[in-house]
């Protein structure tokens, strides 16, 4: 063998090679991604900022939103939601494509690259994509004067953290399911939509009846949103709750990503 293959180096950087290839694929869609990443926030900022926001403000001022503008109140949730859908998209589609549609993972696994590295690479690229989308959104929030520059910059990592948590679960399911026919519809309509509406996104979670609140409690969106509000606007509640939010997301990643690693390896070596 004279090509100069260094297996040690592959063991160290393999996941990044996969992530690099993923990012190369993703960037083929850069025009569409840019349109979505800029267009989507614009629609929200205009409709909610000018429409609903004014209505809420005229009705009850800022008493229900802890003394901040309505549009600023929902901004951390919008960022977290952007991260969640971003990581989710880049975990689900490449994974099903990799195992089933085009079997790219089997091609990658025919090299010294392992299943663990493929799973990790896909996940890294998905997170990178979310960092980009959330950063664009954050800049638009600054431009539209929704929030002030400062500790609010921490909204970016917090949102991405929430996205990574939800994405790790999606990574596992996408690797697990054999028949994806209804999968996207179910996720979109029965998970993403309710999560978006019932996670304290548009109003504080505790203003909902108690029997609806558990939807928020299990939702990574709520935990990321609450953490985001704390870092951006200062926190008024008990500090242990912040630790709970953090731990909830961290444990979600540890468990779901761990299961994903195992599932990738298993499915590739069947």
């Amino acid at each position: 063998m004279n090509a100069g293959i260094d297996v040690k180096q592959i063991q160290r950087f393999g996941a990044f090679y996969i992530a690099g290839a993923r990012i190369r694929s993703i960037s083929k869609w850069k025009a569409i991604i840019a349109a979505v990443d800029i267009g989507n926030p614009l629609f929200y900022l205009i409709s909610v900022g000018i429409g609903i926001g004014v209505l809420v403000q005229n009705h009850s001022g800022t008493s229900g939103t802890g003394g901040i503008k309505y549009i600023a109140f929902i901004a951390p949730a919008l960022l977290a939601n952007t991260a969640i859908t971003g990581v989710m998209d880049e975990c689900i589609f490449p994974t099903i494509e990799g195992f089933k549609w085009r079997k790219l993972f089997f091609a990658q696994n025919a090299t010294p690259i392992t299943g663990y590295q493929i799973a990790t690479g896909v996940y890294i690229a998905a997170i990178a994509r979310a960092i980009f989308s959330v950063s664009v959104y954050y800049i638009l929030l600054l431009i539209f004067n929704v929030i002030d520059f400062g500790t609010s910059i921490l909204l970016i990592p917090v949102a991405v953290f929430g996205g990574a948590a939800f994405g790790s679960v999606m990574l596992f399911f996408a690797a697990k399911i054999e028949k994806e026919d209804y999968f996207f519809n179910i996720i979109q309509r029965l998970v993403i939509m309710p999560m978006f509406l019932f996670s304290g996104t548009f109003f504080p979670l505790n203003s909902m009846p108690i029997f609806l609140q558990p939807i928020g409690w299990v939702s990574p969106l709520w935990h990321a949103t609450e953490l985001g509000r704390a870092v951006a606007f200062g926190y008024k509640g008990p500090s242990f709750l912040l630790i709970v939010h953090f731990l909830y997301l961290a444990i979600m990643i540890a468990v779901a990503f761990g299961l994903s690693l195992r599932q990738f390896e298993r499915r590739l070596s069947k």
Binding site: M1, N2, A3, G4, I5, D6, V7, Q9, I10, Q11, F13, G14, Y17, I18, G20, A21, R24, S25, K28, R102, K103, L104, F106, A107, Q108, N109, A110, T111, P112, I113, T114, L268, S269, K270
Partner: protein, 308 residues
Amino acid sequence: MSKPLISVRGLTKVFGDFTAVNGIDFDVAKGESFGLLGPNGAGKSTTMRILAATSTRTSGTVEILDKDPEKFGPLVRAHLGVVPQQDNLDGELTVSENLFIYGRYFGLSKKFIKGKIEELLEFAQLEEKRDVKVEALSGGMKRRLTIARGLVSEPDILLLDEPTTGLDPQARHILWDRLFRLKEQGVTLVLTTHFMDEAEQLCDRLVVMDKGSIMAEGSPSGLIKEYSSKEVLEVRFGSDRNKEVAPQLAQMCERMETLPDRVLMYTEDGEKLLEQIAAAKLHPTTSLVRRSSLEDVFLRLTGRTLIE
């Protein structure tokens, strides 16, 4: 003889209650072109995936370059080039990008890969397609690219699973030419096929597989000599009459196979046999004298044809 590159003993793979590979043994020497010939479902692809260090075995031993592929997957795979049955190129990327990212998976330097790409594009006759998205390529081009991709790391062994299945005759011949060149360069080839002409063209040595077992092993010509006669006379009497005249025909030759559409008669001299048939006032609607092929070997060994 030096130590074989691949050594397989008692290899068995069971999926649930189905035994895909049932205790097979073979060796592949350096520089050899080795084939697994058999119909669909014979266990060829399963064997290939185990050789490619991407699938586990149920029992038996496998050594590739002195290493167990199950224990040293990445290390073994670093020496292999794999061409799977189904092209799994990245359709969104261009021809040269596909080669580039694949080279990166072997940890090769960008400089090395860039030089290699030129060489491989020429080999695969895809120089003009270098910046074309893979989606837009024909089936034959995709196959050639997949083979080129398998060569990016200068592997010691190239594994090809059904390399020409699904290609038109012209594309197959181009591909055979390319593979023949590799063989001449001394690359060790292991390939599966259910085309006997492919096996005859490309393999120095092969095993005939059926239902997970090896039925016979040898060179294409050696197998034909051992399991078949020199020539074959194919006669057709029409689907109903084939069976009717079969007993009469059977007395005229060493061995005979009655297929639904034709009768195969094994003999040393086909023309002479045909004269005999005519003398017996049996008038076949069509007749053909040909040399024995691996298809006949397979038929003899299993009582079935390769492509069903």
